[in-house]
Amino acid sequence: MEEFIRQITEQIRCVRVREYVAKELRDHITDQAAAYEEKGASHDEAVRKAVQEMGDPVEVGMELDRIHRPQTDYVMVGMAFLFSLGGMFVLYLTGGLSEASTEFARQCICLLLSFGVMAGIYFLDYTIIGRYPFAIAALTAVFFVIAVGAPIMAWHDGRVPETHILAYLYVPVFAGILYRLRGKGYGAVTAAMAVEVAMAVLIRGLATMHTAAAVYGMCLVLLLLAIRKGWFAVRKGVASALAVGVLVVLPLGLAAAGLFLSWNSEDSFRVARLRAYLNPEQYAAGAGYIYQYIRQQLGAARFIGASDLNASMEAGSMAGFAIYRSEPFILLHLVCRYGILAGSLVVLAFAAVIAHAFRIVRRQKNQLGFMVSVACFMVLLVNCAEGILINTGYYPVTSMQFPFISYGVGAPVTYAVMIGLLLSIYRNEKTIAESVAAHRPSWRLSIKLEKR
């Protein structure tokens, strides 16, 4: 019997599926043999007959191999390469890289590095996130602290290095932690909440409040999804209310109280920024000028070609030159210099990647694959949406980096990890079997009406 099963599984190229198929077939042969034995056959005879019933092992194995083949998402691979190169072109066009050739070379190295990271993650089995999430979380923390902490220590001027975008790596890691806690009760939900808060505190400590809040929000969505999907042995309503109550209502209440108390004091820069966002006209001379500036620029933009304001901008004679050159406004810069069409193309590229990521999410039957793909999808969606809103003046200005059109090493690597994970999930869609179903009711009630 074992020889027969080995012959079948040898046909299956994906090693991971083999054991899983072997177990099912072994169970079947045992059942079938037991049935023959009951009918009076000897044990050996029964097993032999049961094996014979299976048919040709090579044929069966090839058929199973066809079903459980790893697959490549060529569309996503194509988009990643095309848009990364296109992104380099945009960086070049907007002038950030053209002045110093060393900078251009450096950015090329960052891009190559990001391709390496993407390929590495793609070929690595993503389920390792579900198996060793705590070890990976700890490693990520060390990596994050070094990547962000080292420049902070060196600069000593309160600036936050661009590498802080690496904080988003915690979102898929959190999906793995949730997966690991699956099947347990309220203790697990509490533990997940504690991990989420700890992550946010770490990120807040080293990076910006905004990044911490974004990661925190995404992790909360994942937690609520896990509860809804029945990952925990809890009452869904109670657990969701607990999570939202402790993680959202409580801190929001505290923040609202703090804001109320400090609204009229000028010393909090966050309050000042918020007030400027809400009433830009009132603060046109101060912190609100940025929103005025964005509106002015967009208003003057042409469909194709440079706007009238562009020339004076380039000469640096107008206020707001600093913004023009700052990273989050790369899209605005592109629109002013080359027209609305160029900006729209970039936005379309983002939309295509996000829509494709969403399709990958929708396809996932595997629980871990689903959760990790949701995590990656959210990181892409939130950053792109935020960036576009910032560039159009609809969102409080904050530091952010777009996929594909960012300087430095942090953003390319972070987004490469997300896209690499999505590719890996797609690749293994048909090769990873869920070994144990999560929390499934053990009985089923059915009522049948029959006509007499």
């Binding site: 177990k23 099912e24 059942d31 079938q32 048919g55 066809r66 079903i67 048909k430 179903a437 053990s442």
Partner: protein, 109 residues
């Protein structure tokens, strides 16, 4: 009684889905039940069954989970909403086909 194979293979997935419509089953159980219900006409080989089940699962018509039965962990299959829809359309197709065959075979008889 032996029946032309191509007639059976095309409709096997329909029969399996029909079985699973009533309750979740594991592989051997399906073969056994099918044999009994069809008075031994349909003796499905395991070598045909499992690739078929896996491809139905791949197409989202079935889901599987492990559960204990008779002291053994077994892989159970369960029909999905999409699977039910697919079964319904296959049934209608089959009915049409069968009616057409009958009317041709016994025309005027």
């Amino acid at each position: 009684m032996s029946i032309d194979k191509s007639l059976i293979s095309g409709s096997t997935s329909m029969l399996l889905l029909r079985l699973l419509e009533e309750k979740d089953m594991y592989g051997y159980e399906m073969i056994d039940t099918l044999e009994k219900k069809s008075n031994n006409v349909f003796t499905l080989k395991a070598g045909t069954l499992y690739p078929l089940l896996h491809s139905l699962e791949d197409r989202n018509y079935l889901t599987s989970y492990e559960s204990e039965a008779g002291g053994k962990m077994r892989k159970y299959y369960s029909i999905t909403k999409e699977g039910r829809k697919y079964l319904q359309s296959r049934k209608e197709e089959w009915q049409e086909y069968q009616a057409a065959v009958l009317s041709v075979l016994w025309v005027g008889a």
